[in-house]
């Protein structure tokens, strides 16, 4: 690039005149907000890992004022860090967490998987999941056990699990359609969805039309569930409300990401009462 000619500025009093031939350095371009870096900065990520747990069932919970509420019992059974993903190598930071154990199915687990657990010096796990985090401070050393006391009573968590499968369901069950009338000449079509489109024009069904199909058995995330009780000795965490899926299924627990846009445990100053010490 040619060397920029110096800017000639003539000034008299307040007025200024810049020579027309001068190579004025361009103003710094505003930061693009559609770059991967900007997207990463926008992403709602918590700074520490979550945990995996088993869903054990539901109970009635009474708080200190005697208020009754439904609650779900979750059990964290031998949840350990089994690996890391780093920004340099993989493009993002995440903690790989495994939970449970595999006894009967140990023979079925292939050697490459067993080798990963062997390298991490942990027992073969029933389930492994990744928790994306912001920064590297939250990359706990491998084999670190994540106990129930990782969560605090009163904090809010996001709960992710696979919902119960309902099989191939009709539109009334799957999308809440009203169906067709019971009488007035309707025959054998009472639970039908009715028409799916128009006429020769457009002559096709628009994409996204709600129809019958498989219902349930999909990943469901419930946000901002309150933690009611934590017991490190038994690994039991009790969460207010329901959790998707059936008993015995694996549940992903992590700090609430959408609590005012930041992780609940990160905003102690702003949301003091939400995160007790």
């Amino acid at each position: 690039m040619a060397e920029a000619t110096p800017v000639r500025v003539f000034s008299r009093g307040v007025a200024q005149l810049i020579s027309p031939n001068a190579n004025v350095p361009a103003a710094e371009a505003p930061a693009r907000n559609n770059s991967p870096a900007a997207a990463y900065a926008r992403k709602q990520l918590v700074s520490r890992t979550g945990a995996l747990a088993f869903k054990r069932g539901m109970i009635s919970w009474y708080d200190e004022n005697g208020v009754h509420m439904p609650a779900t019992v979750l059990e964290i059974d031998l949840c350990q860090v089994v690996g890391h993903k780093t920004e340099e190598k993989h493009g993002y930071n995440a903690v790989q967490v495994g939970m449970g154990h595999r006894n009967k199915a140990l023979q079925k687990m292939n050697k490459s998987k067993l080798g990963q657990f062997s390298a991490a010096t942990v027992n073969p796990k029933q389930a492994v999941a990744e928790f994306r985090i912001r920064g590297k401070d939250g990359l706990l050393p491998i084999t670190t056990e994540i106990t129930a006391s990782h969560f605090k009573v009163g904090q809010y968590v996001d709960v992710q699990a696979t919902s119960k499968g309902k099989g191939f369901s009709g539109v009334m069950k799957r999308h809440g359609f009203s169906g067709l009338p019971a009488s007035h000449g309707v025959s054998l079509k009472h639970r039908s969805g009715g028409t799916t489109g128009q006429n020769t024009d457009p002559g096709r069904v628009f994409p996204g039309r709600k129809m019958a199909g498989n219902m349930g058995n999909e990943t469901v995330t419930l946000k901002n569930q309150k933690v009611l009780s934590v017991d490190e000795d038994t690994g039991i965490v009790i969460v207010k409300g329901m959790v998707p899926g059936s008993k015995g299924k694996i549940v992903k627990l992590s700090d609430a990401r959408n609590m005012y846009g930041v992780a609940a445990h990160d905003v102690k100053s702003r949301l003091g009462p939400l995160v007790p010490e």
Binding site: G66, H68, D77, S118, T121, N123, T234, G235, I236
Partner: protein, 181 residues
């Protein structure tokens, strides 16, 4: 055929030993996969749900009175038709005839029916709730009912309850009078 004929035999072009390539297959040690033993489960063989339920029941009912009354295997349990008095933490008393007993662990509940100022009232109490201070059986069922759930006594000419609170008070006064005579 021709090609085969002109191919030189291996023996004819054998090179001196120095120039022969010496291929050495590297014998790799097979990767050892260690299978680590798991640490024992913190709860042992105990069911997590029953563990939590038992713990909370003991917390809400240290003497085990409510547990005995709401135990389906116990002979002293509350049965449909029994007249039960419930005291809540706000100090109010409610006396009623047991229509339904639901054994559901921590959310076990009773449906009681009574009449106050000639208006029938049904109340359902969650027995293990900390707001229920005490549960007392005032009188056992005086007759045999044909069902476990006595919804049918509502508005029944013969079976429906009267003002139980008043009748219990009356009976207590009568007994007192009898004792002091």
């Amino acid at each position: 055929m021709l090609a085969r004929l002109i191919r030189p035999s291996l023996a004819a072009v054998r090179l001196p030993a120095m120039q022969m390539a010496t291929f050495k297959t590297i014998k790799r040690e097979p990767k050892t996969v260690n299978i680590y033993e798991r640490h024992p489960r913190r709860l042992g063989t105990e069911n997590a749900l029953t563990h939590v339920t038992d713990k909370l029941m003991k917390q809400f009912d240290p003497q085990g009175v409510k547990m005995e009354l709401m135990n389906p295997k116990s002979a002293d349990r509350i049965k449909p038709g029994d007249i039960v008095q419930i005291k809540t933490t706000d100090g109010s008393l409610f006396t009623g005839l047991t229509m339904v007993v639901d054994f559901r662990g921590l959310s076990s509940n009773l449906l009681l029916r009574s009449k106050i100022t000639k208006i029938g009232i049904d109340r359902r109490f969650k027995i293990f709730s900390p707001t229920v201070e005490s549960v007392k059986i005032i009188r056992r069922a005086t007759q045999k009912y044909t069902a476990e759930r006595l919804y049918y006594i509502r508005g029944h000419k013969r079976l429906d309850v009267g003002d139980l609170e008043a009748s219990v008070k009356k009976a207590a006064a009568k007994r007192k009078k009898f004792l002091f005579k």
